[in-house]
Symmetry: C2
Subunit: 238 residues, 2 copies
């Protein structure tokens, strides 16, 4: 039914014709887990299913991975490898910021369930650090002082992750349909503001994301932390 991909290194066919299992390893396990996540969503990725896909028992994975939580963290970071942080210093900082955050958003929404996973796991792998490093550099180029930038990246990432989770809500979009129905049914007497805003509350898409980014950036630029030093390259004022 399925065509064998000759570059797939998971199983090796020995000269006798029997399948020979590739020795496991964190990377093989993580790659297979991400594959299952991508195919079947968050519920499709369990230790048992990953083990089954690797044709072994569930206990085996514990030789390579501490925990389900650790596997989730590894999978998240593995997926974050697709977030583009390259692009040199030529473009203006604001464009680079938008490009990075949109890339991050796209990676999260592309894999069903990855956004949910990002919400419960705090990413601390090499790719998360790479993104963090790039983000801090961009904000510095934008003239944001170090102390403010440190808090700002958290705010930015939190928003993008949250929006991504909201956008791809568990893979099932009946939830967003439910809230739309609830809002449409709200009476003008008891909740006048909600009633008036009922359409706008669920509208949005790309424009909404762009607007929110603008709000965040404008706020960050306009409200440096009260205890912050002036940015290094600005004219010093102690």
């Amino acid at each position: 039914m399925t065509i064998r991909n000759p570059f797939e290194p998971d199983t090796v066919v020995s000269r006798r014709g029997g399948k020979v299992k590739q020795p496991l390893g964190r990377d093989v396990i993580v790659a297979k887990a991400l594959e299952l996540l991508l195919r079947d969503g968050l519920d499709g990725m369990s230790l048992r299913k990953v083990a089954a896909a690797l044709e072994t028992g569930p206990a085996t994975l514990y030789a390579y991975v501490e925990d389900l939580r650790e596997l989730e963290a590894l999978v998240l970071d593995h997926a974050l490898a697709q977030v583009r942080t390259a692009g040199g210093r030529q473009k203006p900082w604001r464009e680079r910021l938008d490009a990075l955050l949109i890339s991050y958003l796209r990676v999260l929404v592309r894999h069903a369930g990855l956004a949910q996973l990002a919400l419960r796991t705090i990413a601390a792998g090499p790719n998360a650090l790479r993104i963090l490093e790039c983000l801090l550099g961009i904000l510095e180029d934008g003239g944001v002082d170090d102390a403010t930038a440190a808090w700002a990246v958290d705010l930015l990432m939190l928003y993008v992750t949250g929006i991504a989770a909201e956008q791809s809500h568990g893979g099932h979009d009946d939830a967003v349909g439910t809230i739309a129905a609830v809002l449409r049914a709200v009476s003008a007497e008891s909740h006048p503001h909600v009633h008036r805003a009922r359409e706008e509350l669920v509208s949005g898409g790309e424009a909404r994301f762009a607007w929110a980014l603008d709000v965040l950036v404008a706020g960050i630029l306009g409200r440096p932390r009260p205890d912050a030093q002036a940015p290094r390259r600005a004219k010093g004022s102690s």
Copy 2:
């Protein structure tokens, strides 16, 4: 061991001394579920455990509740009843905004696991609507036009919910310890910005929340939606 609360209506002792089960109902189930959530966190609240606490089988709950997801939504809204939206129009709008969001934050962090629940459930119950209505009214008093306010409430709630989840991370705080350790170990060569910001990235607390609120409000006031009508009470400029 425990003193009987005479106002507790959950079980009734008959004159023969035997326990008589109170007829179930959504409210009884939801209250018990919230009680378990408060006591044991997110993992402590399962359909089976709620059923067991109510001294019945797990199948029984399905007569009153569609689903685990529905029960979670009901529990979330039941807890949101504690969010204070009263306080008339006397105080300035900004103070009322802060008070409301802080109250929301406190309710989420007080109950272990409620923030995580709020992240995966989109609240659409009566209390969520009450909060939404209040929030929209406050923003209107602040001179924010309707269209911008509709998107702004989502941004504000998303941030507060996210911060709450981050703050009470699954009840276990070893996660935040882990990321602190990772950040402390980051080399200055490979990640200079992260290295320099390693302390600031995890610091914060109350001041951080206040700063972020300031950023959001400043951004919202400074960046009305491009397609927005002028606020109703402002001098018209078409």
